[in-house]
Symmetry: C2
Subunit: 648 residues, 2 copies
Amino acid sequence: MSADTARSSLPADAVDAHGLPFAPSRSVLRPLGIADLTIDGGVWADMQNLNASTMIEHAQSWMERLGWIGNFDAAVEGRLPQDRTGREFSDSEIYKLLEAIAWEYGRTGDAAMDERFRALATRVAAAQEADGYLNTMFGRPGQQPRYSDLEWGHELYCFGHLIQAGVARARTVGADDAFVQVVRRAADHVCREFGPDGNQGVCGHPEIEPALVELYRATGDRRYLDQARLFVERRGHGVLGEIWFGPQYFQDDVPVREATVMNGHAVRANYLAAGAADLAVETDDGELLGAVTRQMVNTLARRTYITGGMGAHHEGESFGQDFELPPDRAYSETCAGIGSIMVNQRLLLATGEARFADAVERALYNVVLTAPAEDGRGFYYTNTLHQRTPGHVPAADELSPRAASSLRAPWYAVSCCPSNLTRTFASLGAYLATHDDDGVQIHQFAESTVRARLRQGDVVLKLRTRYPADGRIEVEVLDTPSAPWTLKLRVPSWAHGATLTSEGRRNDVEAGTYAAARRGFTAGDVVVLDLPLHARWSYADPRVDAVRGQVAVERGPVVMCAESVDLGTDVSGLQVYTSEPPVEEDGDVYVRARVIDLAEPKEWPFGREPGTGVVTGVEERGLVRLVPYHSWANRGPSTMRVWMPVVG
Amino acid sequence: MSADTARSSLPADAVDAHGLPFAPSRSVLRPLGIADLTIDGGVWADMQNLNASTMIEHAQSWMERLGWIGNFDAAVEGRLPQDRTGREFSDSEIYKLLEAIAWEYGRTGDAAMDERFRALATRVAAAQEADGYLNTMFGRPGQQPRYSDLEWGHELYCFGHLIQAGVARARTVGADDAFVQVVRRAADHVCREFGPDGNQGVCGHPEIEPALVELYRATGDRRYLDQARLFVERRGHGVLGEIWFGPQYFQDDVPVREATVMNGHAVRANYLAAGAADLAVETDDGELLGAVTRQMVNTLARRTYITGGMGAHHEGESFGQDFELPPDRAYSETCAGIGSIMVNQRLLLATGEARFADAVERALYNVVLTAPAEDGRGFYYTNTLHQRTPGHVPAADELSPRAASSLRAPWYAVSCCPSNLTRTFASLGAYLATHDDDGVQIHQFAESTVRARLRQGDVVLKLRTRYPADGRIEVEVLDTPSAPWTLKLRVPSWAHGATLTSEGRRNDVEAGTYAAARRGFTAGDVVVLDLPLHARWSYADPRVDAVRGQVAVERGPVVMCAESVDLGTDVSGLQVYTSEPPVEEDGDVYVRARVIDLAEPKEWPFGREPGTGVVTGVEERGLVRLVPYHSWANRGPSTMRVWMPVVG
């Protein structure tokens, strides 16, 4: 056996309970835990390593420096509210970081990560009150009373992230861990306080819902599931108070069971949908699962950027109307991309449909991969698709206002996205593959090792690929039972002309489905999926008015963009010729283009003829290089566009 | 003499002091007061009549019903803060209404308006404190201290509108009026509090600046001018505290003297520019006037909708970047349109350049005229250029959230726009014409009577026109001195091929300038300006990405739009043929068009071919009717678009 397979023996209980970021007790596909999947190379391994080496420490040091962690110490020492720093939801950042550290320890077994977790968790736990309540913002003399501001207070949201950190700990070191007990006391408090006979409210920001379902799954305690159901079902009936943005902002206008498309704040909408999907699966509620599926399908069809990003409005960080997808005002919050991945992965598990894995991949490569700086010390909060003026580079010690930075910023006053990225990267393995009674399904392609305990016996697979640079994915069977089972590989919806080679036979496979090889495998067998991975033009539905007369380029799952650095001038004059496909050379992508010279703006920008007095010259440029959208601005401030005007 | 000229004798002091909404003591062109200009017919006379008969009463009854006026009574009766209603700036709505009523009385001499003014002013005045301070939101036990929240408190903003009401009163009934004394005491308080040795702050919302300059003009008291200068010069140096939106929101990032284009909150930016222009004129500060001119020219060239609307972002109600003008997310607040008119009229007076009068006209016909409902009982707050789904019709007693209504709403929680419209309509005459040492300039065309006291003697003119339905403007000289003087008429920038007929000679005149007739006129002389007023295609600068591949139609100063009511279907499938000009028939405008049938959205709206699987049919429609944008939704909820995709 090669070094690749050194970890091929299955850890005890790895499949059933350990390392699972999401663990539905029933579903079409069953998840594998982070202990079952190791990413051995490629861009996602790089991201996991960067997360482990830098991002987690970077996030923790900012939280320390700004006093967000110190708030817990201040609570213990009776220095609240006077010494409190940060926004009302800053506790949740520590919890998301704890979750990341828990997964990271589970992923690598790095004792330093365990030590980091314990040290941080101890400070958090010390601030828990006798009845299980835990929040540095509310309830003390001089603070607002507990639950006095469900609309904006984020108390249950913070509990939700606390619980998720506890679930991560339970699934990596076990449910006996001291922090898991802290979390259970907190969850018990929530159930007492908001139970059938208690406070009939919900939180302005969903998150407690999926968290409680996961805690039910991790502990078997049904109260948590019942409480999640109460929160999901109460919402949408105007149960929260009036706010400036209206009830749609926090999905309190329409019950989730009745909604047909996502509305309002994009992160809130996705987190709620994740919780509703979890609830539906656990309670075998086909109507509710159908509602979430319908919402996501419609949201993908009408309200999602080509990058997979969600949220067309800066105002309210919210979804726009159908087809309202302005590239230059894309909010596309990093957290909304992560929320979309959460929901789509749940729908993938629940339905087994490839389209949801497609959506996960799109958001991974074009939102999650876009957000972090190459050095792991900066992050996008919003992810615009068109940068009109070169952005401001924040200094290394500069705290950026939310969403104001057009370049990756070290930290934000509202810094939900960096910590969300850390927990996503640490648990990323779980998104790659699943299993069912019949075999193993590969959803995302990376140099990786996959271990699954099938009915037939244990399977270990080694994936070798340079994807997405290259479309060839080679799966070697390292260990297998002798009984037949099925290996499925996703054929992305763009991969027309893909083939699967198995037992020396090469067969065409259909895009947007799973290619299957079923047989009695033997160790050493190799199955190869070949995806025709060429740069291609992508056009928008004519109802997407904001990109009319424009075209984008995608290569496999990667959205490309034009950047001023490559153009030698601002991107506002770029026009591309679409009569031939984009050109690929030495791994780079080029389009034939020209640049129109534009006069300094005249007195009035509207006139009788298109371009009269404005276009002062045309420069043919031949082939112009595009770069992956996720790498934009890595070479410094630039202007950039994903959608490029077509000559004509 | 005809009935038209019944008011042709000049009221005493009308030119020098009375009825002038803005009264620079030096300028290239000198304003005429509302007593000097009467609008005798046409759409603006209708609006003035609707304002007098309905809008003012409508606004006042809402302010009464919501307790905003009652706040002043509550202040007197010691019932604050517990009985206070409305937002922190609600006092200003009463002041804007008082200003409207003052102009309305000055315009018509209607005694009931005078009575209305006195009754309302008495309630306001009663709440003034001994030191001149007047605000129902601050300073009492249980309220925040005075000037403790300059960023959001709007105290000086409220004083600004109070002062403008006082100026209107001074210029219509005289400076001895009791209310003018209230206003002077308030202004004196502001000068004491914020003078050279006082509080070095400014208001988060500019307005006090132009108000203080006008009060200086109305009273001759230079302290007010000096105080205005302090406010203008202090700003832009980060003098206000940090806010979520950043200092650009309230123009505190760059001194107005250095700014090159308007930024941040569009109403704030325009009000500040108005004050800076006033200050520049009074202090003969060419640098400052140049700065304001440069800002407005650049803002018109890069950041203004074809309607003249300003503000491309809902977030922060703010300007976008250059050429960022999404039709479907146009904020284009009614108040920003009014603010733009305030600034452009000031620059017109200061420079005599036609382009500023063009900008005034554009905003008048496409923002100010768009906002009110036909019955005067509803108003747009924002003015979108593309309505994607039919809007909600608010009930007659329904208070709408700011900007949330996509149809004209009776009233808003933040209701700055309706009261701003009332004062604009009541003083509208002043925007029509000016005079200088050499004669009279006609800037806006309406059935009207213009009286001017020239150096050579008194002039009375009667304008007869059906403009903008028709391009013929006939000016009859009713009264004139025998000495020569010059009559100038603006030739709008779109009016290529215009002619001026004077003394029987018809001459070509240049668009974007003033056509001049200079001679010794005699009563009965007629000068005719013929503007070629045809519906025309309008194209955007290629940098306005949001309307690429689309075209608009304008007819004279009026922007047209396509509405679903005329199309019989949603406007999202509309495509127009631009090979022939728009067609006019019986006063209506038509374009040749087709409608593409669009399938229900598929799973993903981006694909390899434009329209594949989406466009399911094409229906040629022949000629499709357009309607003036300002009349959209008058036939009920609809979808609408100003920019129409071009077939191709």
